[in-house]
Symmetry: C2
Subunit: 185 residues, 2 copies
């Protein structure tokens, strides 16, 4: 297969911008897969802060990263993620939608999502990436997708490149990726 799926493509991008020692943020820990991947990329000299509003997600993530003491788990909203940034972050990742295998009525919502994206861009290092994997098949998903697309399409091109990457002939609304790169000034 030549055309990379969304998640492998996303990981390739992270490998290019995240180095050992970096600060990175997982805005939606979910089951902790991304948190673990980020923890391995930054290594013990780095720092990962992972957020989730659901205890089940934090617990699941805690198990997955138990060998990585440089990961901090925050049970709470990612809309205050800037308070945890002691320096510019090289990447901030989001999975927008609901917790897989969790309670599907608990979803990310447009207002807090846009606030969190704005704060992510503020704390982002030049050359760093904000990655948004957008799941929209659930109720309320299309509304959030459209709010995010509208917001990121309006980001000034002098400061940011906003890429959309996704497969458009698939059933079951697979996620697509928005990757925002902060340009070097």
């Amino acid at each position: 297969m030549t055309l990379q799926r969304v998640l492998p493509f996303s990981k390739e991008l992270l490998k290019q911008v995240v180095a050992p020692g970096d600060l990175v943020i997982d805005a939606t820990a979910g089951n902790g897969y991304d948190t673990l991947f980020l923890a391995e990329l930054v290594g013990p000299s780095g720092r990962v802060v992972a957020f989730d509003i659901q205890e089940a997600a934090i617990e699941s993530t805690r198990q997955r990263v138990k060998d990585h003491s440089h990961v901090e788990l925050v049970l709470g909203s990612h809309s205050e993620l800037d308070r945890f940034a002691d320096r510019p972050a090289s990447a901030v990742v989001f999975n927008l939608g609901y917790l897989p295998k969790g309670d599907h009525s608990i979803i990310t919502k447009p207002d807090s999502t846009l606030e969190a994206i704005t704060k992510s861009l503020d704390i982002l290092k030049e050359g760093g990436l904000v990655l948004l994997a957008i799941y929209y098949g659930h109720e309320g998903g299309a509304e959030e997708r459209d709010a995010v697309l509208s917001f990121v399409s309006g980001l000034p091109q002098k400061k940011y490149d906003v890429l959309r990457y996704g497969f458009i002939n698939q059933q079951n609304s697979p996620p697509f990726l928005i990757a925002i790169e902060k340009k070097r000034s």
Copy 2:
């Protein structure tokens, strides 16, 4: 810059699927830049067929590939490109829009474009790619863009992967890429 522009990304994909000796088709020769790139990829043991409906484009391309005798130039519509395929093609590339620096009233049109895409998929090798760089800022461009998007979004996912790749926060309607991969059966 981590996020690749559309044209470099497109070239990376071509490098992955086109090998020396292959048949490849440039459905819209334009100024011949893609034709030359393809001629170098397939080498003298391969074959490139390049189409354009404008004499100025064919002439410009002829100059650019004059050292490559394995390139055939066809002054005519790409809607009959299948007649030139003596074997499955590893790639077919299109630039949809108008000839840069040429007569902007001469544009690709939805009907013949969709016919040419259909024929491209018919002659495509398994694992091969049809690449569509879609320029849509000109008059009639949005109509063609929407016709193409509607068509490719309906391609069966059992046989094809259809990727959309492009920057969504740019002024001046830069092109985006549609990449269609024929799955191996």
